[in-house]
């Protein structure tokens, strides 16, 4: 495995997402271990700011595919470029985020380039020519260590926040224009428009106190239990994905990767088990308090305080205390 290490930076709203720097940390480690180069491949249009931010983030080379045809993310168009770059470069590893993009690009590239995909990983190690990853399974109740026995390139996507982010400032990276790799083709997917989240009557992203409900709330009618506490605390109600899927609350209330990212002073999670997709949306909260029946619920890993118990007893009692003691 003498190929270089290639990383796909993630951008959101034109800025580099934190997962980019996590991927670069692992990429740097692998590159130093093998004595090869760390290369970032950025795609899009008007990429100046991203390239500048990447310039001193520890990469040796930045490949830039800057083209109006790549302005909006479209898997078919991105694959058109990335598969060509992979063919030219024959990297040993291609690291991406387990994100909306990475989920689409990783497995397709593994088929196109005859490589090996591993997705939703939280660790990757190379020792004596053996490549192993650690990944969650069974709703996150198990971590499995898996050896990848297929051929390189190893196309590995990582869960956001799973890898440490170590600043490794470097001399400015060499920038190489690969925009010509993009070729207009008769693409079968066309982006018609972009829909921003609906501005509902609530804006949970600005709330200082959030009382959030999950599947454990059991029924739409029961939500008022949490709503009462939110009101008593002058806060806002919110929820995890299943509550929206079940039609119990509108999507404006949805916290998590597919919904809103919130940063309140206090986040009270009621009957939320704490799947990684939900937890990624609340890590910026100053204090997290969780109420759940299951002492093994992963929400207790991210909360500072926990109550193992019946939310239908605990939450109304909390509301009573707030009302009585002002």
């Amino acid at each position: 495995m003498s190929g270089d290490i290639l990383v796909l930076p993630e951008t959101s709203n034109g800025e580099l997402d934190a997962v980019t720097f996590e991927l670069l940390t692992k990429g740097r480690e692998l590159a130093d271990q093998a004595g090869v180069k760390l290369i970032a491949l950025v795609l899009g249009h008007n990429l100046g700011p991203s390239v500048k931010a990447l310039g001193s983030a520890g990469t040796d080379t930045i490949l830039v595919a800057d083209h109006p045809g790549l302005a909006d993310y479209n898997a078919e168009r991105y694959l058109n470029v990335v598969s060509r770059v992979l063919e030219d470069l024959s990297p040993s590893f291609f690291l991406l985020g387990y994100t909306y993009r990475g989920i689409e690009l990783g497995p397709s590239l593994a088929v196109r380039c005859n490589g090996s995909a591993a997705s939703n990983c939280i660790d990757l190690q190379v020792a004596d020519g053996s490549v192993t990853v650690v990944r969650p399974m069974f709703s996150g109740s198990v971590h499995a260590r898996v050896e990848l026995q297929g051929p390189p390139p190893y196309i590995v996507s990582f869960q956001k926040g799973a890898l440490p982010k170590i600043e490794s400032p470097s001399a400015r990276a060499e920038v190489v224009d690969v925009s010509s790799k993009f070729e207009e083709d008769s693409f079968r997917t066309k982006i018609a428009k972009l829909l921003q989240p609906e501005e509902g009557e609530v804006d949970i992203t600005r709330a200082e106190v959030i009382v959030a409900v999950g599947r454990g709330i059991g029924d739409k009618e029961n939500i008022r239990v949490a709503e009462d506490l939110a009101r008593a605390l002058g806060g806002t109600l919110a929820c995890s994905r299943p509550v929206v899927d079940l039609g119990w609350l509108p999507s404006a209330y949805h916290v998590g990767i597919s919904g809103k990212t919130v940063t309140p002073k206090v986040y009270i999670a009621c009957g939320i088990s704490g799947a990684s997709q939900h937890n990624a949306g609340i890590t910026g909260s100053k204090r997290i308090i969780a109420i759940n029946k299951d002492p093994a619920a992963p929400i207790f890993d991210i909360a500072q305080y926990g109550i193992v118990g019946d939310l239908f007893k605990v939450v109304p009692e909390m509301t009573r205390h707030v009302k009585e003691n002002g």
Partner: protein
Amino acid sequence: MRIVVCAKAVPADITDLKVVEGGNRLGYRTYQLNINESDEYALEEAVALKKQHGGDVTMMTVGRSDADRAAYIGLVKGVDRALRIDADLADPEAVAEVLAEALRDIEYDLILCGVESSDNMSSEASISLAERLGLPFAYAVTRIEVSDDTGDDTGVVFVNKEMGGGVEQVVEISLPALLCVQTGIVPMTYAPLREVLKARSKPIETLAAEDLAPGGKTKIRFLDAFPPPKQNRAEIIEGELSTVAAIAVSKVQEAL
């Protein structure tokens, strides 16, 4: 519209998890297998599209005979044909390979899958399947609108797909295509147990994985499976209900 739904049967709860068959897969005990949640939404959406636009729905699953329960639920919910590829494959690439081979003999306009299985959690098999079949695809689809313009033989669908943070793309995709359906796309219906038991008299076609991909070999090896390390465990507030609630409220007020 001819629709294929790929749905996986997954365990609800597992015990006695261990690496088996020299690392080919993980073995465990479970009470029964259910349809993976997002796959069940894909199934519901397929049946809803059939009701609107006509056509038929074929449900495919890869698993051993205990996965037939998923097929029976599918038949109760309105699937016309249920097909199981008999195999116990833990490598999503191997799953995609046998599905792709089986689909070479099936006509379809649209393949619907879910977004992620609760057991393997990799979201790989469906995208890999699309690539193997040379189909355009979209992941995390929250709405599917079939263009009623029948003047054009190829046909298109308009789909909403999540981009994260509540942002969605509306994408026009030409058929045939593969879509990974997000949970909540349509209301979930309930399959009464009595109906599911009755469906056991209906046929489920079975294909042997070995016939579809002879010598197919899994390219991953499980070395170990263990509980996730606990990190920053919350300080658990214990005691009488009233005390617990009072402390919890003080922890709220302290942070404001």
